[in-house]
């Protein structure tokens, strides 16, 4: 295997009695779009700050392109950061902001101007070069921050929830734009987010964080289809978790299992060969193009079932409250998990509140 762009070895960071990052081992390959996904406080930012050099690890090492940079200051590392609040210099105009890194590295003036303008063009901001950061919208500031980092052609670009401050629509647009840009420039992106949908959309690989540790590193599809732990199944997408008595009652097996809501069929959709169960519709949650049915199984647990609004009208769907239904699923969609279920539910609730 080639030398990874970033390698973390036993990386640990404690703030007093809080262990923010706990013995992390990770390899991020060259040219990858790599996401760090996890609930608030799980240590994502801290890891990023240790890669950038703003925070010294309590233990462990950071390697960039095979070189140990653990003790080096931020300005002696070939990485650049896009900060969550952008951190644009308010006393400089947009062009001066973008030029800053080049000026510091003593790139000749003419070349500097050309490269900065090219970087601004690449994020469609060429016309705004002379504006002050205060005169820009949130999305425009975000692009300036991106251009300011990319113009230095770093080996690795670190992004800490760069889309967090944008509204949903702009966010979606920027996700696609970022992904395209990354493909174009071929720079390794390390992208921090707590939005699982965002991570699934953009990444080559995702590391799921929980309490300073990595639960699983996998491609988006793998993470979704075969989550390794109950935590991952609960955090990435919605999941029906069955364990203990519930698992025994519904599946007739012992262990912890996950079934995705869209893999469960309702009444007439149930296919032959499916495992079935009877229950009552406790509630119907209208979500636009799809509905969530909460089904109380006669055997005990409640399952969330996702059904597209293809044929049923909204009234019909809502009218199913309290009705007896049959649910069914194919056995191959029952995923066996390892890990502690309790923890998942807790952190899921934390995320929602």
């Amino acid at each position: 295997m080639s030398t990874p762009a970033v390698e973390l070895v036993g990386l640990t960071k404690s703030f007093g009695s809080v262990t923010a990052v706990d013995g992390l081992d990770l390899r991020i390959e060259d040219g990858e779009f790599f996401s760090m996904l996890g609930p608030s406080g799980s240590g994502k930012t801290t890891v990023l700050r240790m890669i950038a050099g703003f925070e010294l690890p309590s233990a462990g090492r950071v390697l960039l392109a095979g070189e140990d940079v653990t003790g080096r200051p931020p300005f002696a590392r070939d990485v650049n950061t896009v900060f969550q609040d952008y951190a644009l210099f308010p006393h400089m105009d947009v062009l001066a902001n973008v030029e800053y890194g080049l000026r510091v590295k003593r790139v000749p003036a003419s070349q500097r101007r050309d490269r900065a303008m090219a970087a601004l063009e690449s994020v469609q901001l060429g016309q705004l070069a002379r504006r002050r950061p205060t005169q820009l919208s949130g999305g425009q500031r975000q692009r300036v921050a991106l251009a300011r980092a990319l113009v230095n052609r770093p080996r690795v670009l670190l992004l800490d929830e760069p889309l967090g401050a944008l509204d949903l629509k702009l966010r979606r647009a920027m996700q696609l734009e970022l992904k395209d840009l990354q493909r174009e420039v071929g720079i390794t992106f390390v992208f921090v987010t707590h939005d699982q949908e965002e991570a699934l959309t953009m990444s080559d690989r995702i590391a799921v964080f929980s309490e300073g540790r990595i639960e699983q590193v996998a491609s988006p599809a793998e993470l979704y289809e075969s989550p390794g732990t109950a935590f991952v199944a609960g955090f990435v997408g919605t999941s029906n978790l069955l364990s203990g008595d519930a698992a025994a009652a519904v599946l007739g097996r012992t262990g912890t299992f996950s079934i995705r809501p869209e893999k469960i069929h309702l009444d007439s959709d149930v296919e032959s060969g499916n495992t079935t169960a009877r229950g009552t519709v406790a509630d119907v949650v209208y979500l636009g193009s799809v509905n969530h049915y909460l089904v109380d199984l006669d055997a005990g647990p409640t399952l969330t079932v996702l059904k597209q609004n293809l044929r049923d009208s909204t009234e019909q769907a809502m009218g199913r409250r309290g009705q007896q239904v049959t649910v069914g699923w194919a056995d191959e969609h029952v995923i066996e998990l390892s890990g502690d279920t309790q923890q998942v539910q807790q952190s899921h609730e934390k995320e929602k509140s």
């Binding site: 950038a52 300005f75 990485v79 950061t81 006393h91 800053y100 510091v104 230095n152």
Partner: protein, 269 residues
């Protein structure tokens, strides 16, 4: 909070009264500088500009002004350098006893001037064996000037946080470059406001000055104090006071403008 009409009326009247109380005497000083009468007769029997020309010709007044400006300038310069460095050290580095050091820096402004004056004079004369003079005066003024610069600087640094500095280092700038290109420009208006205030404090300081200036040196406040009750000097003193009133409006207005609406700081938040 909303007030009843009556309460508002009373508050407005009180505010007006306070303003009158402060500004009528000031207006009187300016008016009297044109009063023909040597003893400031009221109402003025006539108006003249002869006191103004007398003041311009007065060697004592001119000399005192020069001394005061010199002292204020040098003390402010010292305060700017030391106050900024102290604020940076206290805000950007964590160390044991940080809060205590911060308190110790601010203390001189809370101490009565007599205490500071006696303490400094004693230290200069007995511990260091330095004659009281220009040097001791400037150093003494710097002790309280540092406080105003320090307070302004540290407030600004707190509001800024370390984010922009991290961004600068992330883009390859070393510590010094970051200070020069990012930290200092972001602090500029706060430092200017601190410097103006510090200049004003030094310029009209009288208590610490009497203890630490020695015999030969006369700052403007001391000159005024010594000449105010001499009958033939009183009109000239009055002119100097009037001129100071007019002049001091400028720095106050400037520092308010600078401290209030600071676009760059608002944006950095």
């Amino acid at each position: 909070m909303s007030f009843s009409r009556a309460t508002r009326g009373v508050l407005l009247a009180l505010t007006g009264l306070v303003l009158l109380f402060i500004h009528v005497p000031l207006a009187l000083v300016v008016l009297n500088s044109f009063n023909v009468s040597r003893t400031f007769e009221w109402p003025p029997p006539g108006y003249t500009t002869k006191w103004w020309s007398a003041a311009v010709d007065s060697a004592g007044a001119r000399n005192a002004i020069v001394v005061s400006v010199e002292v204020a300038l040098v003390a402010t310069a010292i305060a700017l350098v030391l106050g900024t460095m102290a604020a940076l050290a206290l805000q950007r580095f964590r160390f044991f006893g940080r809060d205590t050091v911060s308190l110790l820096i601010i203390l001189p402004i809370a101490l009565p001037g007599v205490v500071t004056g006696i303490a400094l004079a004693n230290a200069f004369l007995t511990m260091f064996g330095i004659e009281l003079g220009m040097l001791t005066l400037v150093v003494s003024h710097a002790t309280f000037c540092i406080v105003t610069v320090f307070n302004n600087a540290i407030a600004r640094l707190r509001r800024l946080g370390g984010n922009l500095e991290e961004a600068s280092m992330d883009l390859g700038a070393g510590t010094f470059r970051t200070f020069w290109s990012v930290t200092l420009p972001m602090m500029r208006s706060a430092l200017l406001a601190g410097a103006l205030l510090s200049f004003a404090l030094s310029f009209d300081e009288i208590i610490v000055t009497t203890f630490t200036a020695g015999q030969g040196i006369q700052t403007l406040p001391i000159w005024i104090y010594q000449n105010l009750f001499r009958p033939n000097q009183a009109p000239v003193v009055n002119v100097v006071a009037a001129a100071l009133i007019v002049l001091s409006i400028i720095p106050i207005w400037l520092s308010q403008k600078l401290a209030g609406t600071d676009e760059s700081v608002a944006a950095a938040r």
